[in-house]
Structures are given as C-alpha cells and as structure tokens.
C-alpha cells in the first residue's frame, strides 16, 4: 500500500492524479514483480479497490506503460498482453515453435541499445525486448 506513495509524486508532477485504483494496481504489480495478465491484475487489485472495473484496469495499464511505470510484454503461451512493473530491466528470448522462454539481463543488448540512442536521438530506458527465435531443441527437430 505504501509502495504507491513511491509513484505518486512522479504522477502529480506531470499533472496526473493518484487514485485508489491506480494505487491498487501499482501495488499488485510492484509486489508481484512478475508478468501479469489484465485478468490476473483485475482479480488481485479489486481486493484493495472493491469497485474496480475492467475498463479501468485496461486504461490504467496502458497509462502506466505510456508513462514508463509498467512494461507490456507478449508472453507466448498466454494469449493476453502481460504487464510488469518497471524497474529491474531485462529481455526475453522466446521459441516461436515450442514457446519455451529465457530471460536475459540487460548486458546482452546494452551496448547495441546505447549505440542506437546515439544514432537515433531516441532514449530507451527500461526497454523490454522480446526476441522470437528457435530454441536449441527445435532447431534439431525441424528448422
């Protein structure tokens, strides 16, 4: 619950408001740390924010992503777009054949991303890249 006060100043500084619904959702994301689907987030967050509705969950997640507080990710296997609290950034390797996935640290892509920042002018903080490929097993099985 108090973890929401961590994010409130940042939101207010940008002219946004810290509502009970946003507190609840941030609380869920913050303490889970994992990737959660909108449905999972709805179920957990409604405990703290009883009147919570689905439209609010979807709008809030999009809002948090747009403001860099949450990261959207496609997790193969789960059909739904999942969200995760921003913070310890990392990337995902997913096998497009069997769905097996691997999480890798920033280091792997960091140098290339820094270089992209320099050449493009864009800045990527907390980037959350998903690479689709073939795992070792599936490389042998087929192609």
């Amino acid at each position: 619950m108090s973890c929401a006060s961590l994010y409130a100043p940042e939101l207010r500084a940008r002219g946004f408001r810290m509502t009970s619904q946003r507190k609840a959702i941030l609380h869920v994301l913050h303490h889970s740390g994992d990737h959660l689907s909108p449905a999972e987030i709805f179920e957990r967050a409604r405990r703290e924010a009883p009147g919570l509705t689905y439209p609010t969950v979807y709008r809030t997640l999009e809002f948090l992503a747009k403001n860099g507080l949450a990261m959207p990710a496609h997790i193969v296997g789960k059909k739904q777009l999942a969200y995760q609290i921003a913070g310890e950034s990392h990337h995902h390797l997913i096998c497009r054949s069997c769905g097996s996935s691997l999480e890798v640290g920033l280091d792997a892509l960091e140098p290339a991303i820094r270089q992209l920042e320099a050449s493009s002018g864009y800045r990527f903080i907390n980037s959350h890249v998903t690479l689709l490929g073939l795992c070792p097993k599936c490389q042998k099985t087929a192609g």
Copy 2:
C-alpha cells in the same frame, strides 16, 4: 497469386497444407510488405478467397508467425497487433509518449543478437524488435 507457390513447398515439407485462404493471406502480406492489421488483411484477402472468415484470418496469422513466414508487431497508434511478411528484417523505435516511430536496419542490433545466439543457443532469424522509448522532442517536453 503465384507468390503463394513460393511458400507452399516449405509448408508441405512440414506436413501442413497450402489452402486457398493461406494463399490469399500470404498474397496480401507479400505484396503489401507493410504492417497490416487483421481487419485490413481480412478485407483485402477476401477478394481472392470469398468465403474467408475472421477466425481463419486470426488462426492463419498466428500460424504464419509460428512458422516464421510472418512477423507480428505492435504498432503504437494502432491498437491491434499487426502482421508483416517475413523477409527484409528490420527493427522499430517507438516513442511511448507521442507514438512517433522510426524503422532501423538490422545492423543496429545485429552484433548483439549474434552474441546472444552464441551464449543462449537460440537462433534469431528475421527478428523484429520493437524498442519503446522517448523521441528527441518528447525528451525536452517532459521526461
């Protein structure tokens, strides 16, 4: 139309079938080259495959992605997941604030990706990375 015969052997070799629906959808993706939404693909492909339905479009796009013939991508602004024919691979830079986007060549991330292949055992062909960040304009406006 004849472009589908380009993909047929690959599918048959894996035990799949080349249907009129798949031909039509591959045709659309192949000749557009651009990212298309399921709705756009449905509208265009139904011209060649009259009885085409939405469930088939969705299932086919997922099928093509899984088999490396099409690449899914989240295009900011458009809410829907878009698909593009596999081939000339590239990456996307998207501003999470204003939605402006930039397409960059493989070179940018290529070295890092090759290194990831070596360390993880995964192989990434036709990778299609979307980096979410802040464009130069939006960096000044806020943060």
